[in-house]
Symmetry: C2
Subunit: 150 residues, 2 copies
DNA sequence: CTTGACCCTGGTACCAGCTCCAGGGTTTAG
DNA sequence: CTAAACCCTGGAGCTGGTACCAGGGTCAAG
């Protein structure tokens, strides 16, 4: 039986985070000692490691909760887990692609600015950022201004 | 002279965001009409477009403020701007690489789970997430538990 | 003159994922 | 016995970038 401090050190999660996970229903409410101290067993160590690893794999706490619930649901099988992972994988790909586009846009800007110490007025980077330039995608889907005139 | 609603529509930024940028010193305090209405000129339109484009390039508002300050500082030159862009580019690369590692880790998990509807107890994904697995990097740099015993 | 669109300020709420604090009680080492 | 180290609850604060609200003033059209 581990107290919260010990399980925290054992799993590399802070004490506050453990309590937070309990509040957020990623951990079942812990058994308590007479004094009200939380007591944990090996199962919670495993669960916390699961959470940590899944976070490192890019899952949000909400997604992790979903995985954990899948695990305790009778009727679900491995395939369900797999499909969650695949969906996450696709999300990740989209995110990577978006970042790569950003990187390319930045590259174009950097390239345009061959480093011969121009005055700022001629800086092609600032100029490009100022005017409408290559991308100009995402017109922000009908800004709707404010709550006014909706 | 544009009122805030007009400049918002002209630049694709919400009214609230324009006011927020003013508070956060990305825009100089606007000139006001007798009634206290903010009035903007073409320079602010350009500045807002700059902000929007820079955001699309992955710059945070703090970084954008830095760029804008560079621009109004006498002694700075194009090279300074360029080096900010290059630093951002490097950051972006690191982020992309990290995500690609995640994607690979997920791929390994998905691959391990060849979809023949195993019961959950045998699910290799859940198993891998639970135990110490391939990566196990980043032991979270001395967790320090809580403020206690520091 | 009235309606409705627009603007103001100052404040609160939201997202995630914690972190930290006050003000207590408990356990353990010396 | 005492002091340090640990634990509790409940709540606030943080990050970034807004969104939204109340309660008011202003402006233009009909």
């Amino acid at each position: 039986m581990l107290t919260i401090g010990k399980i925290a050190r054992a799993t590399g999660v802070t004490i506050d985070a453990v309590r937070y996970y309990e509040r957020e229903r990623l951990l079942a409410p812990a058994r308590k000692s007479r004094a009200g101290y939380r007591l944990y067993g090996a199962d919670t160590v495993r669960r916390l490691k699961f959470i940590r690893h899944a976070q490192q794999c890019g899952f949000s706490l909400a997604e992790i909760r979903e995985l954990l619930e899948l695990r305790t649901r009778e009727r679900s099988c491995c395939k369900d887990v797999r499909s969650v992972a695949i969906a996450k994988r696709a999300q990740l790909d989209a995110r990577i692609e978006a970042l790569q586009e950003l990187a390319q846009a930045l590259d174009r800007l950097i390239e345009a600015c061959d480093d011969d110490a121009k005055p700022l007025d001629d800086c092609p980077i600032l100029g490009a950022l100022e005017g409408a330039f290559q991308g100009e995608s995402r017109p922000r889907a009908a800004p709707a201004a404010n709550r006014a005139r909706s």
